[in-house]
Every structure is written in structure tokens, then in C-alpha cells.
């Protein structure tokens, strides 16, 4: 037999030996068995699967440091209660008890490690009192009540600049809204609705770019933009009204509400208003109901009515 053939035969027998000797270890390991050296018996163990965000955390099982870092699995864990601690530099340690069952996988795969010093960053470069995030276009709008100014920046606070000015309200606005076309700003308190154009080079709303519509008729709970970017849906304590976004606009009542503090929800995608109200039934008792008012298809009716009502008022004046 040549030297090469002897070498090959040796390699063959080594491979066979590795297979024969290695296979029982691989099988017992994968099936979760552990050799108990005191009794020389195979004991069925369990397995712990660990994952964390961020990954790479050190693992202590019952106070003993484990070699791998997350994500990892600890094989051959004896059944019973165990204590797991995950540690990662710069993050709060995480610790929890976990129950391990024989022949089962116990999972701890939704661990979030929180940083010791959260990465907080100031975005505004000027004083602000409120903000609104346009997540569709990655813009943050900042509102400064004292300076009557609107600023905007990208989502990291970069490109911070003045977007528009507006007329202040007293008392301060309780909510800010940007129109769906991102060209107008709406803000309101209980009896005033302010509007300002966000594209200052154009006159968008009317001849005046910033104005306030007085609304003494009701206590305003919420205001919504209609999809046409021109009409406003005003939900008050007594009624739901529709209003044009122009100076001196008069509201047109859509619904008179039977109870105070109705819940109101406006779906801007469908231009549909949902609200709760009380109705007196045949038995004379008041019952709460939920109503749906679709504004999309019937808006032309409201426009005609608003126009008629405006004409009446002008004639009276």
C-alpha cells in the first residue's frame, strides 16, 4: 500500500471514528439530554432561547456567566426555575426568572434593553409652545404662541426655519392642525378659530393670509379639515357645524346635539363624521346612540346651503 493510500485509509478511519463517536453526542445534545456524571444516566433537560434588542448582551444563568451573547440558546438546562440576567454596557441590566421544562424550549425572546442615558435630542432652535408632526412628509411644525410664528424642520430638527406667522388667540389655542394639502394652518380655542397660510408667497385663504373667525355660538370641542382643504367641520357642545375657511364665515349647522360633551370622530380619508348623541325613545327615556354622517358625497348640498345663508345674511346687513 502506498504512502498516500495509507494516509487515505487513516483519514477514512478517523472520519468513521468521528462519526461514530460524535453522533451520540450530537443526538443527545439536539434532543436535550445531558449525561449526569454522578449517576452515569442521561437526564432529559430543557433549552432556553434568548433574544434581546439590542443584541450582543452577556448572559448569566443562575449567576454563572454564559459564553455566548444574545441571540443565543442555552442547551441542557436542568428542569426547574432559573434566573436569567442580561447585561450590556451602556444599558440597564435585565433580569427575570424563567421556568424550564424537560424536553421543551423556554423562550425569552422579547427582551428590550433600555439605555442608561437615553439619546434625547432637542429639535427646536427657537421657543415653541406646541408642535404637529406630518409623518407622511417627514416634517415637524412648531408653533410659538408668543411670537405668533410657525416653524418647520425635518424629523431630525434639521432645516429649521420660519414657515408662517399667525394671529394670536386669547386664550391660547387648545389644538393645532395643518390642512391635508399642507398649505393652511388651523388652530382654535373655545370660541375662536384661527387660520394662517403656510405658503406665505401666495394668498391662499382669502385676501388676508392670517385671520380669525369668531365662533360665539357654541363651545368648540374639536375642528376638522374637510378633504377639500376649504371647509371646516366644527364639533361644539350643542351642535356640529360646517364652516368655510374665510374671514367672517358663518357656520351652517349639520346636527343639533341633544346632550353636552358628545364624542366626535372625523375620518379624513372618507370625510365621514361619527358622533354620539342622546335620543328620546318612545318610552320617554333618553338613550345614547352613535351616528355616522357622510360629508363626502353630500358636500355640494352644504355648499349651496352655505351660499344661500351667506346671501341672506348679506341681504339683512
Amino acid at each position: 500500500m502506498s504512502r498516500e493510500q495509507k494516509l487515505r485509509a487513516g483519514l477514512f478511519y478517523i472520519s468513521c471514528a468521528v462519526f461514530i463517536l460524535g453522533l451520540p453526542f450530537i443526538l443527545t445534545y439536539t434532543m436535550g439530554y445531558q449525561l449526569d456524571r454522578s449517576s452515569w444516566k442521561f437526564t432529559r433537560t430543557g433549552l432556553i432561547s434568548l433574544k434581546s434588542v439590542p443584541s450582543g448582551a452577556g448572559v448569566l444563568l443562575d449567576g454563572v456567566l454564559f459564553n455566548d451573547k444574545t441571540p443565543c440558546s442555552i442547551n441542557e438546562v436542568m428542569p426547574g426555575a432559573h434566573h436569567i440576567e442580561l447585561t450590556l454596557e451602556g444599558y440597564y441590566p435585565y433580569s427575570s426568572d424563567i421556568e424550564v421544562w424537560a424536553g421543551k424550549v423556554s423562550r425569552m425572546e422579547k427582551v428590550i434593553l433600555f439605555p442608561l442615558r437615553p439619546d434625547v435630542k432637542q429639535l427646536n432652535k427657537s421657543r415653541i409652545s406646541s408642535f404637529w408632526i406630518d409623518d407622511a412628509r417627514n416634517i415637524i411644525y412648531y408653533f410659538n404662541q408668543e411670537d405668533s410664528a410657525v416653524y418647520k424642520s425635518d424629523m431630525d430638527g434639521e432645516h429649521f426655519r420660519l414657515a408662517a406667522n399667525f394671529v394670536s388667540l386669547r386664550p391660547s389655542p387648545k389644538k393645532w392642525l395643518v390642512s391635508p394639502d399642507r398649505q393652511k394652518l388651523l388652530y382654535f380655542n373655545n370660541h375662536q378659530i384661527g387660520l394662517a397660510g403656510l405658503k406665505q408667497e401666495e394668498t391662499l385663504l382669502s385676501q388676508e393670509n392670517q385671520f380669525v373667525i369668531e365662533y360665539p355660538f357654541d363651545n368648540i370641542l374639536d375642528v376638522f379639515w374637510h378633504a377639500d382643504n376649504y371647509h371646516l367641520i366644527v364639533a361644539g357642545e350643542k351642535k356640529v357645524a360646517i364652516l368655510e375657511a374665510k374671514p367672517g364665515a358663518a357656520p351652517f349647522t349639520l346636527v343639533n346635539l341633544g346632550k353636552r360633551n358628545s364624542q366626535v370622530f372625523f375620518d379624513p380619508k372618507e370625510d365621514t363624521l361619527y358622533f354620539s348623541d342622546s335620543q328620546r325613545a318612545e318610552d320617554g327615556k333618553l338613550y345614547d346612540n352613535i351616528y355616522k354622517l357622510e360629508l363626502k358625497t353630500k358636500l355640494y348640498l352644504f355648499q349651496d346651503l352655505i351660499r344661500l345663508k351667506s346671501n341672506d345674511r348679506e341681504q339683512k346687513n
Binding site: 487515505r8 483519514l11 453522533l23 443526538l27 433537560t45 440558546s73 442547551n75 421543551k104 424550549v105
Partner: protein, 497 residues
Amino acid sequence: MTESKRIKRFLEIIPGALSWLIILGLILLSMFKPVAGAVAIIVFDFYWIIRTGYLTTLLLMAHRKLMRDKNKDWLKACEQLGAGSGWDGLRHLVIFPVYKESIDILRASLSAISSSRFPEEKMIVVMAFEERYRPARDTAAALEAEFRDKFGGYLSTFHPDGLPGEKRLKGANATWAAKRAREYLQARGIPAEKVIVSCFDADTCVDREYFGCLTYHFATNPRPHQSSYQPVPVYNNNIWYAPSFARIIETSASFCQLIESMRLEKFVTFSSHSMSFKTLIDIDYWPVDMISDDSVVYWKAYLYHKGDYRVIPLYTTVSMDMAYSTTFFKTIVVQYKQKRRWAWGIENFPYVVSRFINNPDIPLSKKVRRSFHLLEGHVTWAVWAAVMVVIAPLPILLGGFFFNQMPIGYNLPRITGMLLNFSIFASFIWIALTRTILPPRPKDVKWFVNVVMVLEWTIVPFIVIVVGSTPALDAQTRLMLARYMEFFPTEKLRRVV
């Protein structure tokens, strides 16, 4: 049906039945006993890792020998043997069985022989045409005019169609040619003992040192007539023009042959090979009714010499054409059919075992070992890719919630992943070795093809699925169902430069 036919039929069923039993058994286990299925798959995965490591090491050893021997001056080595060795009196009979191969391909094969570093007067070339192919006479005449004077002897033979007991196979044509060559040699008083016969595929281009290397090994072999001589087949003739898909498969085939050259106890002749002409006559030539004539001729010699017959690896190359076609999908089909024809070598199993049964001259241990090697090799070929690609994920997919909650369910994909990583590591070695057996890049091929040749190894998983196991399973199933294959020449394209 006679007793011997019943035994042969039973033996034909065994390989296919075993392969299907393994595949279907693992599928059913994965469905109904996922833990048992997973255990079986892990055992197979671990076996495959060990096997890959073992075979890759053998490949490295064989490659080292190839690099050492392929540029050796073998003629000088023969001369150094001295006249007493008898090398000087040896003649080479080279038979090219031809069917529809073009004259350009045949011309290249003959030119390679005439360019080889061995005395031309000691060479006798036989171009073995099929009479049923009408243009053969014209091709023969053209080649004869060109090459007749370049060799010590030149013959064109035309194998008649439809001889009794024959099938339309390469072996039948080669046998007819060998018989005519025997007459030619007898007429010139050249004894068969002094002739080494090489049977080459029509597209085979030998290395310049091939005949020197062959002569040296024959002359130094204490029992030269009890050995076949197997060069390393490479598919370099058109490798730079072949699509990636074909290139990967054929390069892998060359490497597999290199690996086999290290496993002498199971080494069998494949494709182009050489042997003693005397032995060829003694065993009544190649089989005339079996597709895998290249390996059956070895088994005939093995049985004739009562198990005392071996294959000697020659670490020199013979280059052939890669099988490919005009489009990607046609290439897949061509490759699939070629590999299925190779896998049809499983017909050796019933042939050999049925002759082992009543043969008291060969030791039982040898018979069992050789039968096992034959069966194991073909069954592994038929199931490995199916197990690793299709069946391995089944316990996870079909095992359900409880299986996936068990350690074995959790560990199975990790073990399979480990196997994949190991395979990737092994493939890096194969990529590196590929570069060393490539011929120089033709001038009309862009340098970028060098990069493609490395990147193309990423399609190995796809190749494994298409031609990994299925051709072998197909061949075994056909044999199992007695749907015997017919020979067809593989479609090969070559740009003749």
C-alpha cells in the same frame, strides 16, 4: 422467467426501491413522527459533513498529484526505464467511436493525438463510424486523407446496424472496431500483449503527455494486463464558452472523478480510459447491449480475473466537451439527460451482483464490499440532495407547535445551517482548485468571464435541486420499473477556433 432472470429483475428493483424507501420514509416520518424524522435528518446531516470533509481532503490530495504529474516528462521517464522494461515494444491502439460528431470535433481529437509527445509510429488510430449514419463515409475519407500518414496505422471502420444481440450503443461500435483492429494487428504480426487500447469519446483531446504517462504506468505495472488505466476527465474544450450552469456541473464531475481516483478499492473506469488489448480480447470486448460500457468493461475484466483487477489512476487529463445547448433551459435538459445516462451506471449493480452470486472464485468479503460500494454510491447520489434540500425542513414545517417547542425542533435548523456553512467553506476550496485546471482564456473571451466563473458558484443550491439527485432517482426508478433506457448522444456545442 428463468431463475437467473428473476434474480436479475430482483436486483434491478433494489436500488430504486431503497432510494424511494429512504425518501418516502423520511417524508412520512417528518409528517407523523417528526422527532424520529428529525433524528434521521440530523444523522444524515452529520454524515454528510464528515463525508464532505473527507472527500474534500481527498480532492486536495488528488489535485496535488495531478499538479505534480501532469507536466512531468513521461517519455523521458519511459526512456529511463531502459529497454528491459519493454516499453519500447508497446503499441497504442486508440479507438474513437463516432456517431454524428462533426468533422471539426474529430479533427481536433486526432490533432491532439498527433501532437502528443509519443512516437507516432507506435500509434494506431481507429475511427469507428456507424454505417447507419450516411455522411460518415465522407467524413471518414476526409479525415483519412488528412491523418493517415501521421500515425503508425490508421483505420476507418463502419459498424453495421442491427447485428444480432446488439443494441444501438457506443459499446457495440467500439467492439466492432476493436475486432477489425485485431485483424489489422494480426496481419502485421503485432501481438495483443504488446498493445494498449484506449477507447475515447469522439470529442476527447488527450494531453500531450498522456501516452507517455500511460506507457510508463503499463510498463512499470507488475500485472499490466490486470489493470485499467483511467485519466482525469476534464471538460475544457468549450469551457470558456459554456453557460455557468453547465460549467459548474462539469467541473464538479471532474472533481468527483479526481476524488474517486484516490479511492482505489472502489475505483471504476469512466468515460475515456485505457487497458490491455489482450485483456479486452479475453473478456470479449465491451458490452454490446449496455449503455454504461465504460464501467461494465471494468466489471467484465474484474470477473474474468476473479477479483484481481484494478484501475490505476493516471494523473494526466483528457479534455472533452461540456454538454450544453443554445438556451439556458435547453442546457438544463441536456445536462439532466447526460447525468441520467451517467446514473444509468446503476445497471452495473444487477450485472455485477448476479455474477457474484454463483462465483466461488472471488472472496465473499470482496463481493460484499464491492456490491455495497456500488449500491451505496448510487443510492447516496439519488437521495442526498432530496434529503438536504426538500426533506430537511419538513419536520419543522409539518411537525406542528409541540415539535417546534422541543429542543430537537429548535436545534434542527441550526444543525442544517451548520451543514450549509460547512458546504460553503468546502465550495471555496473547489473554486480555488477550479482555477488551476482551466485552460488559458481564449482571446475572444472577455476577462470578465473570470469573475463570472467565481460568482457562478452561488447558483450551486439551484443546481443541486435540478441535477443533484433527480437524474439518479429517475434512472433508478426506470430500472426498478424495467423501463430500460436507450442510448442517445449528448448534445454538445463547440466553437471551433
